[in-house]
Amino acid sequence: MRPKILLLDDDKDLLELYREILSQLPSHPEIFTSSTGARALAMLAAEPFTLLVSDLNMPKMDGLQVLSIVRKKFPEVRTVVLTSVLDEQFRSRVYGLGVDLFWQKPSSGEEIKQFLECLESLLGREAQSGFRGVQSKSMVDIIQLECISQNSIVLKITNGPLTGRIWIQGGELIDAATDELSGEVAFHRILSWKAGNFESLPAEPGRERTIFNSYQGLLLETAQAQDEAHVRQAASPANAEDGSNSPLAPLARFPGVEFVLALKPGEAFDARGLENPQPVAAWGRQTLEQFRALGERLQAGPLQEVEGLGPQSNVALAPHANVDFCVGWQQDLSSSQIQDSMKKVLTLWVS
């Protein structure tokens, strides 16, 4: 199927020029144009588009406003900014909104060619999870490939702020490490991550062996452990009583955490470590909501985190998909330590 591109710029002559240039793309996209943000939003609502290419500097509704709405209402549409605005602040704001590509308006034939190549690559890219580098392969696939090929390699896996390493020597798993974990425990933890990036590093033949189980045995254990965790989670109101199998439990055990609240849509929440969580949950909801709204009014990009720092303890709030988190932190942590630790805690939740 031919991809559909919507071009948005207040200059109608430029739109025609863009149309001509983009018609050279090998995927032969259908090209539509709009000279106002409002019209572009109406077109996106009326039919599905693959890609929106937008200018920033436009009267009435500027590009930042349009893109902010598009990212929220049409998250499946890929977005590109094509602008003559060179200020780094605007580039950061554009990427902060989740735009796929920020491109300065081409100033040479070579740049037009590069721009077209980038667009073509963007049009061909499917949204998919899995590990980047070997698209649509799981970590299990990657480890099996390396072991069957009897390779010697170090796999470095990055999952947000978490990193892990798996050492493979002559097709055998010999060690794994992540954060404070090592050996088989670290291996199981890394394999519980659902997505991320990995890179292959040169083998380290001198690495001390801590894993003696075969890779098949370890992968089987990991699969069994994950299956059991799913079954426990699905079937157990009783486990909710002591919270030991609560998905919040690993978050509450994270170093420095005093309490954790998962604020769900509506009034519902889960709590660990607080005797009377209701007032804190109410504060968390209200504060996130008011700063979210403020961020929109300021066009400051999505709200990432709020910290409340005090003489006795610290508390941090972070929106995350459909759940907002409120985490109490020990008083001796600095703001940047809290920011870093919150990222790790949220990654634990995803895993």
């Binding site: 580039r91 007032p279 409340g308």
Partner: protein, 100 residues
């Protein structure tokens, strides 16, 4: 060069994010400010009201909060409580200023 000139348009009229600090009293009125003059005063007061409300609501929830840090993708807001009012710092976040 014809095509290249054709791409050019008048310079951007986009409003940059504010950089600077300001102090407000307990009613949210701006007492002193180093914000750019182009940044609307009512927007500064809007920020102040949200910050003061966050301090007040924390007190209601029995949380002792003296400083609030709000991180947006493109702006960091830091507010310290000052005898009911607050001093508020605004720093735009660019790609090069963000920690990796």
């Amino acid at each position: 060069m014809g095509i290249m000139n054709f791409f050019a348009k008048p310079s951007a009229a986009l409003l940059p994010l504010p950089r600077g600090s300001f102090t407000v009293d307990r009613e949210g009125r701006v007492l002193a400010s180093t914000l750019p003059q182009a940044f609307p005063n009512n927007m500064a007061e809007d920020i102040a009201m949200e910050v003061l409300e966050a301090f007040r609501a924390a007190q209601t929830a029995h949380l002792v909060v003296r400083e609030v840090v709000v991180r947006f993708a493109n702006l960091k807001l830091t507010a310290r409580e000052l005898r009911g009012g607050a001093i508020i710092f605004l720093v735009p976040q660019t790609l090069s200023s963000k920690p990796s």
